[in-house]
Symmetry: C2
Subunit: 370 residues, 2 copies
């Protein structure tokens, strides 16, 4: 089997394991930086690799619209096109259609939408999304799903029926199962019965991995964590579990505590471009005038390029002066922060110390007393 | 002497030599990338070094306004602040005052101007500019000069008197002559008699280097080249000659042919951020739709990171998608193009083949038949 999840350590619901793909193994729990348009914003693929990332995500919706999946295929697929030779995951485009594009209309067969770039009318069906992702050539591909407001029960009920039917059609039309692992997406909003129904339905399809979608989009953190507690016990232990669109450090730790193996999010790179950085003591915004004269690294003890070479005051200056190099430096730090966090999480699970680590990390990161 | 120009080879007026500074030797002819705000836009200092650059320029006007020269000094000077440990040149701020700031008024003592950032009223005198540059700590510093329209004779006559008086005051007030080489700036527009008067006046000051200012700002290329032919023979052979603000490949080759040793310009980095690249066959703009499907490097035979790793079609995609990594890739290529050009120029001068090289380069770059 090209795609195998091997569970190495378990510490309560928290899992440490390895997922194999044609472009390499991925140690889990894992955070995947997002390269929406076939580039992790501001960074070279070499830098992303040096950060320790073992998987990156790219967005089907964006690449379909520009440069087009046929063009990417002519360059030899995403790996060759963007010069990233490790594992890649592409999403289905569903989330972007429901958040970015105008005038979408959903029917049983698929979804019609307008491009956010030029207003052109486009249509995604499960079969079309499988064809696009086959051409892009990622190692992990996602089923087309509908992404409703997680708090709207009646919409979630209707959407779930479509999401399930589309998952069946994605599995049936997948073109390259030996090269690409198709993950199903459990939906159902914050409603436990819907989530259970969705997990049961998708597990029956016997897919190589499962995602939990429709979270971190409006519900409370408590509702998100409760939903994870409902879903992960229903997923097979020998398949990775992917919590889509989640990248806040506290949510990663709480997700791992509930059995999640894989995360992705634009958060670390997006906030970096606004001057905000992760530290073990919480987020800081380097635009703040108080950093103008500060010597020393962004975070003491960090081994990223930024922290090894530059003072906080210099990065503050670059951010204030709208210099691109400043965005690179904060992006490098934030992604390295998460890679160090994931390595620490894996080590703590292996040592059977994850619960103590979780409590100490959250107390410090969230600024609560231990 | 900390600052020594050693002439190694001469081929007609073209010179190859080495200029020593406290932060290392600079092989000349040399092109210095511009790091206006203490960063060569989009690049890390490590990348700039790997490109082969041996000198970079930073702008006194910008750094005085933000983050302020006192702050830079507290971080240990520009080298430590920006993490560039090779030679640095700072300009005097004169050119920026006359091109960027509003409501400037010049008098015999100095120039009063408004900050382009916040409108605050500021004043530069020769003494103030020497103090600012001492705090910034560059290896090469420039005298304060007035930069008139090169075609306006009466303004040039008035301005020249001030520029000369200010050069005397800069030399008298320079604070760290052992650490910083003060270069004078020959002005006089396109008027040969004024240029001769200016060169003679400044040579009498016995400065460690001489710049030619006020060119590439409105006159024709023929007028620029003629002005160089007037000035360089009047400058001492044992001091470097710096043509300020010139970076088009054809102008570099023509400048070297007239005895210039040093160039700087924002051109290669600025056009890169608009998608334009240098090649031996002239400039190309990668935004053009015809590059969308092109495989192969930006320029065949180029050894830059971009050309070694990415297709033209990928860089085209990044530029079209407004991705910062695209700006990095074109910037790396353009600066490497100029460093390779300078290395080739030095080798051709050493071999006594510069005139033949010049003719062949210009014919190909400008698209003329040989």
């Amino acid at each position: 089997m090209p795609f195998t999840y091997t569970l190495l350590h378990q510490d309560g619901p928290a899992r440490a394991g390895v997922f194999t793909t044609p472009h390499g193994a991925i140690r889990m729990p894992c955070f995947a930086p997002v390269g929406t348009q076939a580039t992790v914003k501001t960074l070279s693929p070499q830098e992303v690799q040096e950060l320790g990332a073992e998987l990156i995500l790219a967005n089907t919706y964006h690449l379909y619209l520009r440069p087009g999946e046929e063009r990417v295929a002519r360059f030899g697929g995403l790996h060759a096109f963007m010069g990233w030779h490790g594992p890649i995951l592409t999403d289905s485009g569903g989330f972007q259609i429901f958040s970015l594009s105008a005038l979408r209309t959903v029917d049983a067969e698929g979804v019609t939408f307008q491009s956010h770039l030029d207003g052109s009318r486009r249509r995604f069906t499960p079969e079309k999304v499988m064809e696009i992702q086959a051409r892009l050539g990622a190692d992990i591909i996602m089923a087309l799903d509908e992404c409703p407001d997680p708090l709207d029960r009646s919409y979630n009920e209707q959407a779930l029926a479509r999401t399930h039917a589309w998952a069946v059609r994605c599995a049936a039309s997948q073109q390259r199962p030996q090269d690409q692992a198709l993950f199903g997406i459990v939906q159902g909003g914050v409603f436990a019965d819907l989530r259970r129904r969705s997990a049961a339905f998708l597990v029956d399809l016997d897919l190589p991995g499962y995602a939990i979608g429709g979270l971190a989009v409006g519900e409370s953190k408590a509702q998100m964590y409760e939903t994870l507690e409902v879903v992960t016990p229903l997923l097979p232990a020998d398949r990775p579990r992917y919590l889509m669109g989640v990248g806040a450090p506290e949510d990663i730790v709480e997700g791992v505590a509930r059995g999640i193996d894989l995360f992705d999010c634009v958060l670390p790179t997006r906030i970096a471009r606004h001057g905000a950085i992760f530290t073990a003591d919480g987020r800081l915004n380097l635009r703040n005038a108080r950093f103008a004269d500060e010597t020393g690294p962004l975070e003491p003890g960090c081994d990223c390029y930024t922290c090894l070479h530059f003072h906080r005051g210099y990065v503050h200056h670059l951010i204030r002066a709208n210099e691109i190099f400043g965005l690179r430096l904060t992006t490098l730090h934030n992604l390295r922060f998460l890679q160090r966090l994931m390595a620490e999480i894996r080590a703590q699970i292996a040592a059977g110390q994850f619960q103590a680590f979780r409590a100490a990390f959250l107390a410090r990161y969230l600024g609560e007393s231990v």
